[in-house]
Amino acid sequence: MKPAPFEYHCPRTVDEGTALLARYGDDAKVLAGGQSLVPLMNMRLARPANLIDINRIESLAYIRDDGRALRIGALTRQRAAERAPQVAERCPLLRDALRLVGHAQIRNRGTIGGSIAHADPAAELTAVLVALDGEVTARGPKGTRVIAARDLFVSYLTTSLDPRELLTEVCLPAPPKGAGWSWMEIARRHGDFALAGVGVVLAVRGGKITAARIGLTGVGPTPVRPAEAERLLTGQTPSEDLWNGAAEAVRAAVAPDGDIHASAEYRTHVAGVLTQRALREAWERAREAA
């Protein structure tokens, strides 16, 4: 399982990187953490003629809080974000989801931008981005553009990024202070791909839910944002019936594929179960924060 040959490029700046991408087009792949791409290369499923290693573009590794949202450089290592105080404080949902991404050795190299751009249908970070209405910034031949999460994920491993574009930043709007949150997933082993995973954020005031955000992974080609379930929760007083209603709405909103590890029916069912449990935990946390 040795990779096929490739031309190796190692740009030091974003401009150098985008220039290389513009030149080599779609027979080039960006190498960030490599935790998803290199296994595919070792198995010779992926044989890019050109590999553009962006690990030396220092300027792409940062975590900034602009008051409204966390702006995370695409090259920020997952492990660094997992431990960053701003993430724990402003977006604990991201921290909790990151802890279930593979294992420490994977997260030491895997990057925030890489996971989003790779768009694995069972990835954790894509669902967090969708749940929080995040967006990404990309630089390409036609300059810089911002893509909202809802427009980013197209299908299995496929985003709306142009092959010549470099994802430079991930932006996660921070939930309101005191909001409850919860990330839950089911995987066959600790650190495996999620059979189903859900991220929930509940803003609460006066014992009522003022805003509900839900993002699911592992239940379709792309992360799912169950709008009907969110609508059903907004303005309501939390109760087990309410959580059940939301779980049913989530089951209606997902259309997973089965595979050798879990049937489609099972994934649909547990998507509901996880949503119920995540809502319960998020509501607990919102009450504690109040």
Partner: protein, 210 residues
């Protein structure tokens, strides 16, 4: 297409230079060009952890990186843990607790344990098990590895005087009902010649901290 590059890597404090294609993985370069065969390949797709090394003090899968990416970094492999014949406290604990059988996965577990105990000097058994979940072993069933990591935590904490009164959760080996700490008495010491630091804090050689 197949242009060779001169690549120089610093491994265990020594610089190694070799000619390799950019596609040569860090694991293969360490094993073939540096001649350090202690790092092993078990899957080459980032799951088994046998290829785990330290890069600038952090564990990485060396099968998922290309050698050219590691230029300028400070690598530590299993060959860099012992100080001559004197084993690192983690190696000693693995030996004391029969935490290896065929030994193929052991280098990966050792490097994972070095980083883990750097980050988490007083771990509970659950924290140890989750930290080790990224390394597969097919011989031991993991139990003795968990016991060894807990014992190494004690030895290292004692060595650095960091052992607070509360102490780490001492994993109790139910079978023997004896605290499964550094069991000097339990295992018969049949090794007169094995130089082993007793009592004196051993010079802990591990990868440079981040």
């Amino acid at each position: 297409m197949k242009t060779l590059r001169r690549i120089t890597l610093r491994v265990n404090g020594t610089a190694y230079t070799g000619e390799a294609e950019p596609r040569k993985t860090l694991a293969d370069f360490i094993r073939e060009d540096c001649g350090l065969t202690g790092t092993h390949l078990g899957c080459e797709h980032g799951v088994c952890g046998a290829c785990t090394i330290l890069m600038d003090g952090q564990t990485v899968r060396s099968c998922l990186m290309f050698a050219v990416q590691a230029e300028g970094a400070e690598m530590t492999t299993v060959e860099g843990l012992a100080d001559g014949d004197r084993l690192h406290p983690i190696q000693q604990a693995y030996w004391d607790h029969h935490a290896l059988q065929c030994g193929f996965c052991t280098p990966g577990f050792l490097m994972t344990t070095v980083e883990f105990l750097n980050d988490n000097p007083q771990p509970t058994e659950r924290e140890i098990r989750e930290a080790l979940a990224g390394n597969l072993c097919r011989c031991t069933g993991y139990q003795n590895i968990v016991t060894a990591v807990a014992a190494a935590a004690h030895t290292l904490a004692a060595a650095t005087g960091a052992l607070r009164e509360t102490g780490a959760a001492v994993p109790v080996s139910r079978a023997t009902g004896v605290a499964a700490g550094p069991r000097k008495t339990r295992a018969t010491r049949a090794a007169p010649h094995r130089a082993r630091q007793t009592g004196k804090p051993s010079k802990r050689r591990s990868g440079p901290k981040r």
